[in-house]
């Protein structure tokens, strides 16, 4: 009789001390990460850049003298110098070293960006979960959901940059004011995203199965919904850091940002030198922070795009190679390949068969 049929019983019986097991898991995770990165050069570049950027930021906060010999706003005796080994990005008319100012700006920009996206993720994501999971019309949860979504819609109906600028104007200059101004326009996107993902996950059979098992709603949300919504949200979050950086720079550029040079933020820095009329005679004063913005945004974008592939279990398997699995179910690899084959088939059909059919429903919309 086919007693032990379906599941391949190739796993050897073993005692699993949870600590050792956990260590092995971490090791396996690192190995997987490396394989994935090696197979995707762009993701690798993004990953390395982000690591370098974050390390630099940490050094600049803890021990800035390792990377630069100047303190914030400290002038040298070289005035208006072009880029050289001594001053990589040159100096401005006051003798301030642009490179060290860019470095000092890094933790400021990153901190502000993470603060904004982080709070937006937590607040917006939480509201999105609530609005998505308890949305049955005619119940208290449904009413709450409607209220959340209408408020979100109101915020979304303003162009976010202009709203942020308006709030920045009314709040005045300063780090906290800047964070609040951008944050107020930022959270609604997370509500939308998380609510959409929650609605999609909520109707999957395993949520029904949990309900049938008698699991409480709150536990279903924490145990099943959050874990399965996390993946697209993390990808969006990573990509979003770049977007926030650009927004910050824009606000700084129009002169509503921080007070350069006492608070070195890149957008404000560009704005400061542009207003000082240095952009034509001493272009390096602007190019330095511009390049910093560009590289940082690029790094997070590359990493975000790569994460999208890494976090999807199916493509992760494909990326990392199917041979690495310890106890694979029969023909598992082929199933994956056949799934892929079927997905591609929709777009490669001969002409009479219309080709706009979207790939299998599993591909979640990730903005």
């Amino acid at each position: 009789m086919g007693g032990t049929g379906g599941a391949a019983g190739s796993a050897t019986p073993e005692v699993r001390p949870s600590l050792a097991e956990r260590g092995r898991r971490v090791g396996r995770g690192a190995a997987l990460l490396w394989r994935v990165l090696r197979a995707n050069p762009l993701t690798l570049i993004g990953f390395v850049l982000v690591v370098v950027i974050v390390l630099t930021a940490i050094i600049m906060v803890t021990a800035p003298h390792l990377l630069t010999s100047y303190s914030v706003d400290q002038a040298s005796t070289d005035y208006s110098q072009g880029p050289s080994w001594k001053h990589l990005f040159g100096t401005d008319g006051n003798g301030i070293d642009i490179f060290s100012m860019v470095l000092y700006g890094l933790p400021v920009d990153l901190a502000i960006a993470f603060a904004i996206t982080g709070v937006a993720l937590l607040a917006g994501g939480g509201l999105g979960l609530v609005a998505g999971f308890w949305d049955k019309p005619g119940t208290a949860g449904g009413a709450v959901s409607v209220v959340i979504m209408r408020i979100t819609d109101i915020f979304l109906s303003f162009p976010s940059l202009i709203l942020a600028l308006a709030i920045a104007v009314s709040l005045g200059r300063g780090v906290w004011q800047l964070i609040v101004a951008v944050l107020l326009t930022w959270w609604p996107y997370y509500v939308r995203l998380v609510r959409g993902e929650t609605l999609a996950v909520k109707h999957l059979p395993y949520i029904m199965a949990a309900r049938a098992a008698g699991v409480k709603d709150g536990r279903i949300v924490l145990r099943h919904v959050v874990r399965n919504v996390l993946e697209p949200v993390v990808v969006y979050f990573t990509l979003d850091i770049g977007t926030v950086l650009v927004t910050l720079s824009t606000i700084g550029y129009v002169g509503l940002g921080l007070n350069y040079p006492t608070t070195p933020e890149w957008g404000s820095m560009i704005s400061y030198y542009q207003n000082a009329g240095l952009i034509t005679s001493y272009p390096w004063t602007v190019l330095g922070p511009g390049a910093a913005i560009f590289i940082t945004v690029l790094a997070f974008s590359l990493l975000g795009d790569g994460l999208r592939d890494v976090l999807d279990p199916r493509s992760r398997r494909v990326l990392a190679g199917s041979a690495s699995r310890s106890s694979t179910s029969p023909a598992e690899g082929e199933e994956a390949a056949e799934e892929m084959a079927q997905e591609t088939e929709a777009t490669e059909l001969p002409s009479p068969v219309a080709s706009a059919a979207p790939p299998a429903a599993e591909g979640r919309p990730v903005p």
């Binding site: 599941a7 019983g9 073993e14 395993y206 199965a209 309900r211 099943h224 874990r227």
Partner: protein, 360 residues
């Protein structure tokens, strides 16, 4: 006193309201609804397996979910072991759920991809909340061999299993709390035939071991034939024939049951010459036809079928077999094969099935 049935369903209905279109809204017309289940009565005894056969849109899954209290019925009564369970809410309902568990059709979607086997199987146990983590793990470890899984796969993830393995995990989850009834919602339809047989055989063995009743929802007549004691055939939200497996599947009376049996492809080269006579599409559940739901496709239709719904009734000489057909006496002896025309008998143009007009 004889023990009553485990589950007693009386005239249960479930409608899913549709959103009104703008025109309907401004004309003030009533909300239309999908009549998924439209007045079904049935019982399930202790340790019994009832098969529920029907095609998509027949309401068989909705009925199963109503019995598992995953839907709230629009009307009707539902009793479990004599107790009215429609009034259960909140914590009482959650506690009751240990009595009725469900195995879903989709072997991929019904298991959370981010949980390990022991967490999935142990979820109903944890929901009751009487056992610690390690106790749950131990229970799950003991349970896995009974469904034919190795006990050392506790730490594996669902995607490491084939479809059959995943359905075994689902089954283990359902059985973990020793339910009195397991609703099996198309448990094998996503699996290959050889694997289907493994799972069905295991289901039968488990029933003997564990004194559990099954409601087997499926379109697979062979599975019902093997596993079930009694069977109900559903069409468009209504039960058209109910009775013992032997009676209904060997001597089907309702024309739809006959059609369904005749339509099942059989591995027999002679089938090449046969033509299926029943045409038409399954009508919409939004505006179900008045009278017998099968009338638009029925080869034996007469005028009364189109206006009056035939109640389920017992025929003389077929005790325990209930049929909802006006012409049951006349059609009872017509074999299902007569709905297949062999090529020799067919007219040159073929018995072109009249295709139903497209739904608007």
């Amino acid at each position: 006193m004889t023990p009553g049935p485990l589950v007693e369903v009386v005239g249960i209905e479930k409608q899913f309201p549709l959103t009104r279109t703008a025109t309907e809204f401004f004309h003030g017309s009533a909300r239309r609804a999908i009549h998924a289940v439209d007045g079904v009565s049935m019982t399930i005894a202790n340790r019994e397996t009832v098969g529920l056969i029907g095609e998509s849109g027949s309401g068989k899954t909705t009925l199963g979910w109503l019995i598992a209290r995953l839907h709230d019925p629009t009307a009707g009564e539902l009793r479990f072991a004599g107790q009215d369970i429609l009034g259960l809410k909140g914590t009482a309902l959650r506690k009751w759920r240990a009595n009725v568990q469900i195995v879903f059709q989709d072997p991929v979607g019904s298991l959370d991809p981010r949980l390990k086997v022991w967490q999935i199987v142990g979820e109903p146990l944890r929901a009751i909340g009487e056992l610690s983590r390690s106790e749950v793990r131990a229970r799950v470890r003991d349970l896995l061999p009974t469904v034919g899984l190795p006990p050392d796969c506790l730490e594996q993830f669902p995607h490491e299993f084939s479809g059959g393995g995943r359905q075994r995990i689902s089954l283990a989850r359902a059985l973990s709390v020793d339910p009195r009834l397991v609703v099996l919602d198309e448990p094998t339809s996503a699996l290959d035939v050889a694997v289907q047989a493994q799972i069905l055989n295991r289901l039968v063995e488990l029933q003997k071991e564990r004194d559990v009743a099954y409601l087997l929802i499926t379109h697979n007549v062979a599975a019902v034939r093997y596993v079930a004691d009694r069977v109900a055939v559903m069409y468009l939200g209504r039960a058209v024939e109910v009775g013992s497996v032997r009676g209904v599947l060997e001597h089907p009376i309702h024309p739809y049951t006959k059609a369904l049996l005749a339509a099942v492809p059989v591995a027999d080269a002679k089938r090449r010459r046969t033509r299926f006579k029943i045409g038409g599409d399954v009508p919409s559940l939004v505006n179900p036809p008045p009278g017998c739901r099968f009338a638009p496709r029925c080869p034996f239709v007469v005028d009364v079928c189109r206006t009056e719904y035939p109640p389920l009734r017992e025929l003389v000489g077929a005790p325990g077999q209930l049929v909802a057909c006006h012409r049951a006496e006349e059609v009872r002896d017509i074999p299902p094969e007569s709905l297949l025309v062999t090529k020799e008998a067919a007219t040159p143009t073929g018995p072109a099935p009249p295709a139903a007009p497209a739904p608007a």
